[in-house]
């Protein structure tokens, strides 16, 4: 067979080699202002939470009865004070730590556990698949908030219980996505080719399967972070999360709720913080999904 060495006349010469996948993703992300802004906002929020001990002007739990519910812009308290006279800016900075931990940990746990269970169920199939997936279906019998309340409500308040109950909420979701992605990829010809060429189960999983299912799983997990933040703060709002006097955005919203008739702006601030954080995560995951060209 003759080997074509020269391009036909009318073919356009290729200016440069095609970009690798991740370079292309980065190239697309760099041209997406909404995602970049969301990313920058998130970096600021995370830094503010990490550096709270140095950034906060006051001790977040030290209040003063004489300075209760000072308005935004009060001298010495830029964002006012809460119902116990504690500095709002300091409490918001410290509160971000709790909310971020409670919002990210369950999704990370779900990512690890859910991927393993889902890929296993999808790849092995048969009875294992039925067993795993039907068990996961049971958790789908509850709307997310209700499942979290059921478990947290029984276990009682506290950060560890919140993390546990939210992890249980998110694991089944990741399992579903991981399983369906695995089943899809498993049916592709190159997996059959790898198997025919004598590859073992583990190398196929590592090199061929995981590489192709991790993208959709990661993107899905990133969409769940904002929901997890809202749920975590919501549990504290109901009195099931972090216990007082700790600073946490949902808890602050709950305790300040009674004060809206005295000062309407300050009680709304923790909610603004939750809103901005969850929106930034949503925009970031949307941008990530578009840039990685994953349809979900």
């Amino acid at each position: 067979m003759a080997v074509v060495t020269a391009l036909p006349h009318d073919a356009e010469p290729i200016a440069h080699a095609p970009m690798s996948y991740w370079r292309a993703v980065g190239w697309r992300l760099a041209r997406d202002p909404a995602t970049l802004v969301a990313g920058a906002v998130l970096v600021c929020i995370v830094l503010a939470a990490l550096l709270a001990p140095w950034l906060a002007p006051y001790d977040p739990s030290a209040g003063s009865i004489r300075l209760r519910l000072a308005p935004v812009g009060a001298p010495g308290h830029v964002l006012g004070t809460d119902e116990q006279g504690r500095d709002m800016l300091s409490r918001l900075l410290w509160g971000g730590r709790m909310t971020l931990v409670a919002g990210l940990t369950p999704v990370l746990v779900a990512l690890a556990l859910g991927t393993v269970l889902g890929v296993l169920a999808g790849y092995v199939g048969g009875l294992t698949n039925t067993l795993v997936m039907r068990t996961m279906d049971v958790f789908y019998a509850f709307p997310a908030v209700l499942l979290a309340i059921a478990i947290s409500g029984a276990l009682g308040p506290g950060l560890p219980n919140t993390l546990l109950s939210l992890s249980i909420v998110f694991v089944p979701r990741v399992v579903r996505v991981a399983e369906s992605a695995t089943v899809q990829v498993k049916g592709l010809e190159y997996i059959a080719a790898a198997r025919a060429s004598g590859s073992g189960v583990l190398p196929i999983m590592r090199h061929h399967l995981l590489a192709n299912v991790l993208g959709p799983i990661l993107v899905f997990a990133s969409t769940q972070v904002s929901l997890c933040i809202i749920l975590a703060a919501g549990l504290s709002f109901l009195g099931l999360g972090v216990t007082p006097p700790a600073a946490e955005w949902g808890l602050m919203l709950n305790t300040l709720r009674q004060s809206i008739y005295v000062n309407a702006i300050v009680p709304a601030l923790p909610g603004v913080a939750i809103f901005v954080t969850s929106m930034a995560f949503n925009l970031l995951s949307d941008g990530l999904r578009d840039a990685m060209e994953i349809r979900a």
């Binding site: 039907r134 279906d137 709307p143 908030v145 478990i151 009682g156 109901l238 709720r257 309407a264």
Partner: protein
């Protein structure tokens, strides 16, 4: 179609049983003696013995579960620790209020979300599309309990237009409507975001099909093309509506707490506050059952509208 419906019905049974196991387990998840989880601390010895017998705490877990399930099947959800009232009565009284709120907020979100999503799809890339996308992102990002507080601040504290708390018992239908306005709006935000998004992408999928091109090519008026697109994206739109309605039932917990709306969410909130495990169990079991049955109904209706689904 009928075999699919039968299979789907059968699949709902293990799901419901599984859900009941989770609810049953709540008593044993609670720290300490399970008897303390279902009895007030000041109960007499005779009461404790009676409850122990009713629950069968001395028997193996599997037997306890079956005994409990048997009582639940007869409508006995236990007694509240705080009020000693039968849980089923409390749930019955509050469920109607929650259903009203779930229905009104779903309808509001459905009306606005469908209109926005369709308009956005037909004006793809224009400002209207961008506005709809922004509303969609805000809708799914906003903590709805906080939105409720903001609504109270604006419409009750500042403008004094609408009441902030309760459901105006005995105040007549107009007072009831005024009370449910703010919680309805707060609850509608999340489904509004989701529905706008789904409707937009469903309509875009249809718009990109060749038959739409053919309709346009033969000179069909834009309004008639619109009708075709709406009809073809209807199955997806109704599915998302049904699912969102289900989420509203459970998701209203936080909003009901904010507005002291006397529904299941408020009941849950009180139960959490008083660590009233039997009430928690009862409300969650009833809501989960509703949720599973609703999802089942959505699935079955979907196959009725679009028989292709049953073949998958």
């Amino acid at each position: 179609m009928w075999t699919y419906a039968g299979r789907r019905l059968l699949l709902a049974i293990p799901t419901l049983l599984g859900a009941s196991i989770i609810v049953f387990a709540m008593v044993h998840l609670a720290p300490g003696d399970p008897i303390a989880a279902v009895m007030p601390a000041e109960s007499s010895q005779a009461e404790i013995e009676a409850t122990k017998k009713a629950y069968g705490f001395d028997k193996p877990l599997a037997v306890q579960y079956l005994v409990w399930l048997g009582r639940v099947a007869q409508g006995d959800l236990g007694r509240s620790i705080a009020t000693r009232r039968a849980v089923i009565l409390d749930v019955r009284d509050s469920l109607a209020n929650s259903l009203v709120l779930a229905l009104s907020s779903s309808l509001l979100a459905f009306g606005i979300g469908t209109a926005l999503g369709l308009l956005a799809a037909f004006r793809q890339g224009r400002w209207l599309d961008k506005a709809a996308s922004a509303i969609a992102v805000i809708g799914v990002s906003v903590p709805h309990y906080w939105a409720g507080i903001i609504l109270i601040i604006v419409f009750s504290v500042w403008l004094n237009w609408l009441p902030a708390m309760g459901a105006a018992d005995g105040g007549g239908p107009l007072a009831y409507l005024r009370h449910m306005t703010l919680p309805t709006v707060a609850l509608a935000l999340i489904p509004l975001g989701v529905i706008t998004r789904v409707v937009r992408s469903a309509a875009l999928d249809v718009l990109n099909q060749e038959f739409v091109l053919a309709l346009r090519a033969k000179g069909l008026a834009a309004r008639r093309v619109f009708t075709h697109v709406v009809k073809n994206s209807a199955p997806q739109i109704f599915t998302v509506l049904g699912l969102q309605f289900g989420f509203q039932l459970g998701g209203s917990v936080l909003v009901e707490a904010v507005f002291s709306w006397p529904g299941t969410g408020y009941l849950l909130n009180l139960a959490i506050f008083q660590r009233d495990i039997p009430v928690l169990q009862g409300v969650i079991l009833v809501l989960a059952t509703f949720f599973v049955l609703l999802n089942l109904a959505v699935d079955l209706l979907q196959t009725l509208v679009d028989p292709r689904i049953a073949r998958h």
